[in-house]
Amino acid sequence: MEFEYGNFKVSFKYGMEYLHVTAKITFIALFFGVVIGLVVAVVRHYKIPVISQILTVFVTLYQGLPVMVALLIYNLLFSFYIADIIRILHLNVQVRDVDNIVVAYFTLSLAAITSISETFRGAFVSVEKTQYEAGHAVGLSKLQTLRRIIIPQMIPVAIPGLINNMVGTIKGTSLVMTIGVMEVMNASLIPCSRTYSFLEGYVAAALIYWTFTLVLETIARVFEKRTKCYRENITN
């Protein structure tokens, strides 16, 4: 098998053109993952009746569902019901104009929410019980204690896990090619159907993902280092 550098370059160029799509899916998924994941973790940590049990069952079951399978199911449902959804919500769009990238956003966000909520939940456990009690004892409400004492102590602990979640999400975005969303993976393979240079296409995609992950991870590590002093303050 030969490696045609020219074809590789073409694939790389195509892939890079769609990096912004991969980035967008990643950031949207991480945004919802962190925000909703935190809420899920809080609800489960405080054992808020009924909701917490429902979420526990949901997270446990959902963790066992591969992203690929979820994508295919949602995409199928999406394409089947999109006309009805547009009609019911009186949206002013045509069915053919709707991009199924929203399925990608939805699926990866949900996956990020479940995994990030588990990261946060682990970090919650690291905060001692006395910290809650001390908050209540000086007259803070439950919410004030959570916001001002517990969350600031648990975030630095959660950061290494969150970086891990971030990397997982970036890799997960490559799966959305299965539902036809044009992103790095899919775009890198565009020239291949003409030239049969699939190896070059795959390697080009790999290189883009690798670089993208490396850049984000480096930024995150800098942030992790910056919060090191907080971690030291709270773990000793």
């Binding site: 910290q131 009690e133 001390a134 908050g135 004892a137 007259g139 803070l140 004492i149």
Partner: protein, 251 residues
């Protein structure tokens, strides 16, 4: 001033408090004594609602509440009248010494920031920790942390301060200085309930000693009475183990 009536508390099948009542007058220093598992810490925690009692009423000043069906609003109201000093200090690890003190004043009590800082600086000075103002708890020794813990409770101007074994986690050589600070609090005339194993301190500072065992109050009275003329056999047994006595033998 503070009255606890018929408080009961179980953890599962383990009945920790079996109908305990206690009355503390204004300005009084009460020391709770007893072996581990006697329920003294649980009693203290029930007064501050850190533990939810199964039964009983609590009166602080004018307010009386039923402990097992207290609303969150009443909880906060009554908590506002109490300060709590923890065995393992319980300082907020993400806050500096002074922030530990101002947190409750600014966020809990809604006191203006400048005023809260002034107040905090005063109490820091009072416990001799002004130079550690901006240190995080992790950079302070146990004794220093407990000083801040006491300062935090005092700064809130509570009607009563509850001390839960405040010196148990300390190095033996630091115990004396912390007891000294607690004595200073007592000298201010603040009502206090102290759980401790420090007999000399109890004898020196307490107005009343309450001896608990097995979830009930066995005996209470003046320290000199309880220590040297205990009425109950169980008290005598307990004291004989901890009060220094003439040794039975010499080497």
């Amino acid at each position: 001033m503070i009255e606890i009536k018929n408080i009961k508390k179980s953890f599962g099948k383990n009945e920790v408090l079996k109908d305990v009542s206690l009355k503390v007058d204004k300005g009084e220093v009460v020391v709770l004594l007893g072996p581990s598992g006697s329920g003294k810490t649980t009693l203290l925690r029930c007064i501050n609602f850190l533990e939810k009692a199964d039964e009983g009423t609590l009166t602080i000043g004018e307010d009386t509440v039923e402990l097992h069906k207290i609303s969150n609003k009443d909880k906060r109201k009554l908590r506002g009248k109490t300060g709590f000093v923890f065995q393992n200090y319980g300082l907020f690890k993400n806050k500096t010494a002074i922030q530990n003190i101002t947190e409750g004043l600014i966020v809990g009590r809604k006191i203006p920031k400048a005023e809260a800082i002034k107040k905090a600086e005063e109490v820091l000075e009072w416990v001799g920790m002004s130079d550690k103002r901006d240190y995080y708890p992790s950079k302070l020794s146990g004794g220093q942390q407990q000083r801040i813990g006491i300062a935090r409770a005092v700064a809130l101007d509570p009607d009563v301060i509850l001390f839960d074994e405040p010196t148990s986690a300390l190095d033996p050589e630091l115990v004396g200085e912390i007891l000294g600070v607690i004595k200073k609090v007592a000298d201010k005339g603040i009502t206090m309930i102290v759980v401790t194993h420090e007999m000399a301190f109890a004898q020196d500072v307490a107005d009343k000693v309450v001896f608990m065992d097995g979830g009930v109050v066995v005996e209470e009275g003046k320290p000199s009475d309880v220590f040297y003329h205990p009425k109950e056999e169980r008290t005598r047994q307990f004291l004989s183990r901890i009060l220094p006595e003439e040794p039975d033998y010499y080497i």
